[in-house]
Symmetry: C2
Subunit: 388 residues, 2 copies
């Protein structure tokens, strides 16, 4: 009987393998293969294709799309491409087979970015090591729901608690970490590698153990696409009411939820808020709306002004609240911006305003533009500065 | 300035849209489109393709692979296919474009099953409604790590706590929910829709609020592929030591962790264990190894015997412990099996053994075989019977 099952299971595996072999080019294909010298080889089985290209995030982008390059056809219809040594980072990529986008069937690791899903891989030996799961103590990541009376919604939120939180009796500081346009409460965990960055920085003694709160910044959404009663629909980049003051004025619901649900230090010196793009915009405006609440503010490639064509009073006259924020004191006002970011000039103007008001800030300018590779770096640099 | 940003953002979106339009056939394509009559239309843009097929889980399978059918080429190179009315369920599918497997670029919802990633959708108006996120109170889902001294590992585990757990003072019963071969601590959440099934059954008053514990049954793994320090590697179907008694004898570490970390009723009448395939095998052998621990046992398409060629003492002589389990009492011993399952005959033999011992069981025989569609149904039927 045992033998029979063994045979049945072996047959099962064989059949699956054969079927996969026919469709996807065999179980022996490794792609991507990341080598010690940080070169990466991709392999794709397409015996009948006339042309196979690869497009990856490490390639120079044009019109917000990374370029692409031809792969080389080899034996048995396996197309290959090997990169030069890549800078340590997390990269997404896809294949273009006779003009058609294809994911890599030999790589099960994919991340959604708004309405697109792409394969990813991590190159180590540098900052990418912070994005890896390493042999260090791990925090917990919880998806749960909280009430937002201001919005009249029950909403999904992602919470990282640091290693040891559950068994400790101590109280922790809190970082509120906000996503950009098209993102949601999954963005920082998935593309941002927030839990890995926190685990690693805490293990290295570079960051204080902290709770990280990742809410959904789209006030019309209860939850990320696929996670609410709207079902599995095509995600949108633009959502209404995301930059009209509703998120900022409803933020008190999030703070109240966190401070009544977790062992936190409910004090200004133990609260930080940061975000990317629209999340930087939200961080800017939330922190001045509650001007004595956060001692740490981080604007990552932040928008300063809303998208609306008509002026919105909530955003038009910000000097009064900014001045209050300055008078109340703020231990760290951190701004990260890429040199080629389309929001660069706005941040120049905003820094002039901060200078005029006398609100001291730390300004970090990096290469590149409005991309996740910068936002992961900004988070990795911001977090060690908190709660000192 | 606001205008400038608005224009920049509009340009950004336009460029992304254009690039996507070129590659993936435009933002206006909806695929899959699920209609009220439970027919589903798929659309795929491939103007230059000679033949596009679709393969989906609703099609009759042969050699463990669902069949495929031709799509029809229409205007602008859009290939379409509409199903007959489908039975309410969650389905996976992919396209085959001139012999090449392609995912649906208009559907961001994908689930990994061992080493394969496929698009999914849910058809409602039936049991599939249990798999949807509905407007009901939601439990929390946490990924965290626990110590397993028996295995010398710190391991990842997924925990569902029911709605209200965090604010309640009451103690809850616990269901241990085990995955099959090739699975891990993500399987029941992803393909099994366990948190949706629990949320919905609890909201309908059909299930008692309970904690659901989803451990990793592969004792050589710390965590699911991509979630441990092994990095992002190609997942394997077979893993060593998964059916040699190590998981069963180390299970006490999981119970200890859960009962010391959560507000649970630490008593036999409030403990259930169930699982699919290898997880059913584990449920069978864990429950007899700790023969006075679980009042509820569920075997879903369970294996009874290990895969090893040589007899393993731990599994060879099970009568003594099974008899103990019978003598100690077990409120529900539930067996679900599909008529065409390759493990069917083994379960006939095992039921004869239970009859001989006098251990009463509930036996549910369904259509179909060794597939997730059955395991979601078995969970949905098993959970309402617990902790009465």
């Amino acid at each position: 009987m045992k033998k029979l099952i063994f045979i049945a299971a072996a047959l099962l595996t064989m059949h699956i393998s054969q079927a996969q072999q026919a469709l996807w080019g065999g179980a022996n294909i490794i792609s991507p293969e990341i080598k010690n010298d940080n070169t990466v080889t991709f392999r794709f089985v397409a015996p009948n294709a006339k042309e196979v290209k690869i497009s990856g995030e490490w390639m120079p982008a044009e019109n917000w799309q990374p370029g692409s390059t031809l792969m080389t056809k080899g034996d048995s219809g396996v197309w290959t491409y090997t990169t030069a040594a890549l800078t340590s980072d997390l990269y997404s990529y896809y294949f273009i087979v006779d003009g058609l986008k294809c994911s890599d069937p030999n790589n099960v690791y994919q991340i959604r970015d708004v309405a697109t899903v792409a394969n990813v891989f991590i190159v180590g030996n540098g900052k990418g090591d912070l994005y890896k799961v390493n042999k260090v103590p791990h925090g917990s990541v919880t998806r749960r729901w909280y009430d937002s009376p201001s919005l009249g919604l029950t909403r999904r939120i992602t919470i990282y608690t640091p290693p040891g939180y559950e068994t400790s009796k101590q109280s922790y500081p809190v970082l509120y970490l906000l996503h950009g346009m098209g993102g949601d409460e999954e963005a920082w965990i998935a593309l941002g590698r927030a839990s890995q960055i926190l685990d690693n920085l805490i293990a290295q003694g570079k960051a204080k153990p902290m709770i990280v709160v990742m809410p959904n910044g789209n006030v019309v959404q209860e939850a990320a696409p696929g996670e609410s009663s709207l079902g599995m629909y095509k995600p949108n980049f633009f959502l209404p009411n995301s930059m009209d003051g509703k998120f900022e004025t409803s933020f008190k619901d999030i703070i109240k939820f966190v401070e009544s649900s977790y062992r936190v230090k409910a004090e200004k010196g133990s609260r930080a808020i940061c975000g990317l793009s629209m999340g930087g915009f939200h961080s800017l405006h939330v922190s001045r709306t509650y001007p004595n609440t956060f001692d740490y503010v981080g604007l990552f490639s932040a928008a300063v002004n809303p998208l609306a064509k008509e002026p919105i009073p909530f955003y038009s006259d910000i000097d009064v609240t900014l001045k209050k924020q300055k008078e109340n004191g703020c231990k760290l006002y951190w701004i990260g911006m890429g040199k080629t970011d389309f929001l660069y000039k706005d941040m120049v103007d905003y820094r002039a305003k901060l200078d005029a008001i006398g609100l001291k800030y730390t300004y970090v300018e990096t290469e590149g533009g409005h991309v996740w590779t910068n936002w992961r770096v900004y988070l990795s640099e911001f977090v060690p500065l908190l709660f000192k």
